[in-house]
Amino acid sequence: MAGLLAVTAPDRAPAQAKKIVYWTHWEQNPEFNKWYETKGKEFAKKSGYEVEVVTIPYQGYEAKYLAALVGKSGAPDFFNGIVHQWCGQYDFCDKMPADLEKTWSENLPKYMLPVGQFKGATYGIPIEHGNFQQMYIDVELFKKAGLNPDKPPKTLDEWLAAMKKLSVYDAKGEPTQVGFALRHKGHPVGITDKFLPFAHAFGARMLSPGLDRATGFANGPEMVAALHFYGDLVTKDKVASLAFGNPEETFGQKRAGVIFRESWYFGWLKKNAPDVAFKVYALPCAKACPGAGNLFPWSNLVYKNSPHKQVVWDFLRFISNAKDDLEQHQLQGILPVWTVNLETPYVKGRPDYASTREMLAQPVPPNYYHPKSNELATAFGEAVVGVLYGKGQPKPSLDEAAARMDRILKD
């Protein structure tokens, strides 16, 4: 047994190799992650430190991060995480040096400025652009429904009319093809995330601007109207169906004419549903435009108890430039972060170029970067699910959710 244990011992790096360790749960982006190691070799020539990337499965990554960061042992020197969670709810992050903060604040699109910040202090370097929903349409289904795929609906009223034309029903009146692939299953946080563009289009917001109150916002008249509209898509207008599975697959199976999803989705479509001809547009507006916003602001954070934190900041400084930003994101086929890179040939050649531009030009929607954002979005999402499944009416469901959210904020 000892022999077997010895034979199967893990591959260890030579003892003399100095490394800074990076943890990430972005398994979907292996080339993006590997780039840190490649760049680390270049960095090692002047610092003596290479970069080791540890990719952690998304399912359960929080538990692993927490155990290591609390234990201060076997922990990463820097990691991919959400600022308000790891720096706000927990106090694990080192503040960004002023020069680096200046570099990033001057080079990010405006909606991304708060991504690396918590309570006015800057901790994280945003790494994901395009993490906001856009409208994907199925060109063939649009044409079949007598709609022009080059003239997408611009307002929610136009959009609803288009969804009705795209929906096809059987003899019993149940949809066999829907206008909109709606997310109705899974974690309530995901449900909230998918509903928020509608809420923001109605001029609603989930929390007060100071992020200290839900009542009056999560259950405000705009939010109630938005949830009425959203629930009606399933129950009254029947342009979305609970009988269909997850929305990505429904759209990929040509059973829905429209889906709202982030920029990663067209890569999935090309691989899983190559015969779907699609176009990407900005989300429709109502009282307001949904704009570029997200619930999951991923950024690179430096562990404050790392013995190598200065080396890590040096490394991050080393890669904080437009050229590296473009190179790293292009390798993986995702949108770069720096504003200047949004007009490069690579980005201009992407199917989401025009829609990204349009959405970035819209006013920045509210953000909910609160340490308890997961709990808050869970409470809110449960109300949305209840309405979609006909278990409650929008107003009382949102009243209950707002009260719960206030208790969470108070605790």
Binding site: Y58, G60, S73
Partner: protein
Amino acid sequence: MADLPQAGGLLRGAGARSVPLARWLTAALVAAGALTVIFPFVWIALTSLKTPPEIQRVPLQLAPDHWGNLENYREVFRRAPFSRFLLNSALLATVSAMSSLVVSALAGYGFAKFRFPGHSVFFFAIIGILMVPFQSVVVPLYLWVSRLGLLDTYLGILAPDLVSVFGVFLMRQAIEAVPDDYIAAARIDGCGEWGIFWRVILPAVTPALATLAIIKFMWTWNEFFWPLVVVNSPSMKTVTMGLIGFTNMYFIEYNLVTAAAVLSVLPILLIFVILQKWVVQAAVMTGLKG
């Protein structure tokens, strides 16, 4: 009276017909149950032979377009050192099962056949550990393993799995059923305590040992959370970590996850086929269900 034999004949006839009918019904129910259990495995195996667009196709179809399409299996091994994951899991599950057998058999023997001060208290304290959710002890356990320098090592992964509380309970129940007269007879014949344990007790509880071996092997094989917490190196990952690697924050790669699932189920199936005779015996003997 003349009708009686006819009536009896009718009854007998009905009985004669009802017996095969009952058998057919039972067989049909068992077959339906078996199909229900087997179908997901068949579906997984067939899906592992499909391309992503085939999987997404509507209406869903059971059979793959090309039965010989093993590209997903190749991709699983290309994407990650999956054979290494299988080896790691096999090693960890084997050591964990063996260690649990030794400790559980000894402890079970002690609790079943010896009376000592605090006997019941100790036993229920051990059983009480079953009630503690593992998640609640992860951080202290992590700190302990980390301070011993066992992070990212086989011993670190094995630490919570070397002893099985369930095993202690199972073996105590099994050994209690061994008649005390056998032990007394062995003692009279001059057998020492080790001799009794080795020559009398263990042979009498072979089915329970086999059951524990397969259950513990399966539990360790399927374990995900603890290895996730203590493992960093790709070469130390287990099968479950490899499997979950095909599910990311945005989507599931069904073609790859099913291929990996087929690979990960095969060793468990093999172990079960080898030990199934004893497992059934033990299930009957100990009243285990499910």
